[in-house]
């Protein structure tokens, strides 16, 4: 089970969405798909709907390495989804 940590900016948008959760997923894309199945619309908040890639200011790290949608997940991977520090 991957250990998935989500940004606090998502919590108010989806009722019951926890800050961290365990997910069975083969890739980052798979993990986001599983989240979207339970909380419809969540994929659109993390991925660009027209380009099929992670949004510019959303960063995903798998075991502390910058990841993309196709990055594979190991059974004990830690996944950090970060709303990039920018703006004011």
């Amino acid at each position: 089970m991957a250990d998935v940590h989500l940004p606090t900016t998502l919590m108010p948008l989806f009722a019951g969405l926890p800050r961290r959760l365990d997910l069975e997923a083969a890739t980052v894309d798979d993990a986001i798909g599983r989240l979207d199945a339970k909380w419809p619309g969540l994929r659109d908040r993390l991925c660009d709907p027209s380009g099929g890639h992670i949004r510019m200011h959303i960063h995903v790290y798998v075991d502390r390495e910058r990841a993309g949608l196709d990055t594979p997940l190991e059974p004990r991977s830690r996944v950090d989804v970060i709303a990039a520090i920018s703006g004011g």
């Binding site: 108010p12 419809p40 619309g41 908040r45």
Partner: protein
């Protein structure tokens, strides 16, 4: 007694100001939409719902909906995307009427929802219109570009819609978006244009509630009036301190009375000489008078954007405008006097007023 509700879209979420029909005392609540930049928020008179077009730098564009004047909110962008890979930077403008919500986006296109904002689908991309071959060019999209900067739905005919493509044209459709006609004849443009019918920088388009044939627009270069439902336009700038501005509002009961907020036309785009004022014509633009009673007259470099002014429909109408420095000013006496009803909001993008019975 009626409730008067202002929907104030800001750089950091949506705020609501509420009063009664007297419009003297106001209470504020918010911020809603989780602090996302709100470009435009409207009240759907038919359903009683509020819709807010918001675009987060992190989480993208979405349309927020509250069915109960702000108590509860949902948001959805399902279907709100270009299938051909065009990038959607923001949702800019809303119109809710006839059981449908239209949203204008950047890059220019219009989407619709017929299920209370739960899902969205393409309404019209204005394909093939003169100028459309260049409106995705980044050189035509300066910072803050809105794409479809305004949508106006006809109150009676659901197939009749007006839309502004920012920096290019006002367009009209009478067949529900299947075909569009540019409506710019008589407008001034002080720059070269590649097409005869388009290339005009329409900032704000307002229809008179008292006469469907009467329209006003604040253009990048001048104020204009139409007496034939947009078929032709006549410039009415003379008497105003500048030809530039964004915000405008028409009197709800008198077709010849109209309000506008002139701004300096340079990059500052604030009220001239640091003296805040709304300008009014009562004779369809033949003459203008300066309204400043209650507005700051020293060091007040206030900007007001294109969705930043609105008027209500009471017998003695009220007007409201929000500034790029976070103040909201209100008049409950047809513009004769003004008071500051909010002082410290984030930069304001839009102000719309609803009367709720």
């Amino acid at each position: 007694m009626s409730r008067t509700v202002l929907l104030v879209g800001t750089r950091k979420g949506l705020f609501m100001l509420e009063s009664d029909a007297d419009r003297q005392n106001w209470s504020m609540r918010g911020a809603y939409c989780e602090g996302w930049p709100v470009y435009h928020a409207v009240y759907d008179q038919d359903s009683g719902a509020i819709y807010a077009a918001a675009a987060s730098e992190w989480h993208g564009s979405s349309i927020w909906r509250s069915p109960d004047l702000g108590e509860t909110w949902t948001q959805s962008s399902e279907g709100l995307a270009y299938e051909d890979g065009r990038r959607m930077s923001k949702v800019s403008s809303l119109s809710a009427a006839h059981g449908r919500v239209l949203v204008g986006v950047e890059a220019p296109g219009i989407f619709e929802s017929r299920d209370d904002g739960a899902t969205w689908s393409a309404y019209s991309m204005l394909e093939g219109q003169p100028g459309s071959e260049g409106w995705d060019d980044p050189s035509n999209q300066p910072p803050g570009h809105l794409g479809i900067s305004a949508i106006t739905s006809d109150e009676k005919d659901p197939k009749h819609v007006w839309a502004i493509v920012q920096g290019l044209s006002l367009f009209e459709t009478t067949d529900d978006g299947k075909s569009w006609t540019p409506r710019n004849r008589g407008l001034r443009a002080d720059w070269p244009r590649e097409h005869e019918e388009v290339g005009f920088c329409v900032h704000k388009f307002v229809r008179s509630r008292a006469d469907e044939q009467r329209m006003y627009q604040q253009n990048h270069v001048g104020m204009h009036r139409s007496d034939d439902a947009g078929a032709t336009w006549t410039e009415i700038t003379e008497g105003l301190p500048t030809e530039f501005g964004f915000a405008a509002a028409a009197h709800p009961h008198d077709r010849d009375t109209f309000h506008v907020i002139p701004l300096d036309p340079g990059h500052g785009r604030t009220m001239p000489d640091g003296q805040a004022a709304v300008w009014r014509t009562k004779d369809a633009g033949s003459s203008w008078e300066r309204l400043a009673n209650g507005l700051p007259q020293e060091n007040a470099y206030l900007g007001v954007l294109r969705h930043g002014m609105s008027g209500d429909t009471y017998d003695t109408p009220g007007y409201y405008f929000g500034t790029s420095t976070g103040q909201v000013f209100a008049s409950a006496d047809d513009g004769e006097s003004w008071s500051e009803i909010a002082s410290y909001l984030p930069a304001i993008s839009s102000v719309e007023v609803a009367i709720v019975d």
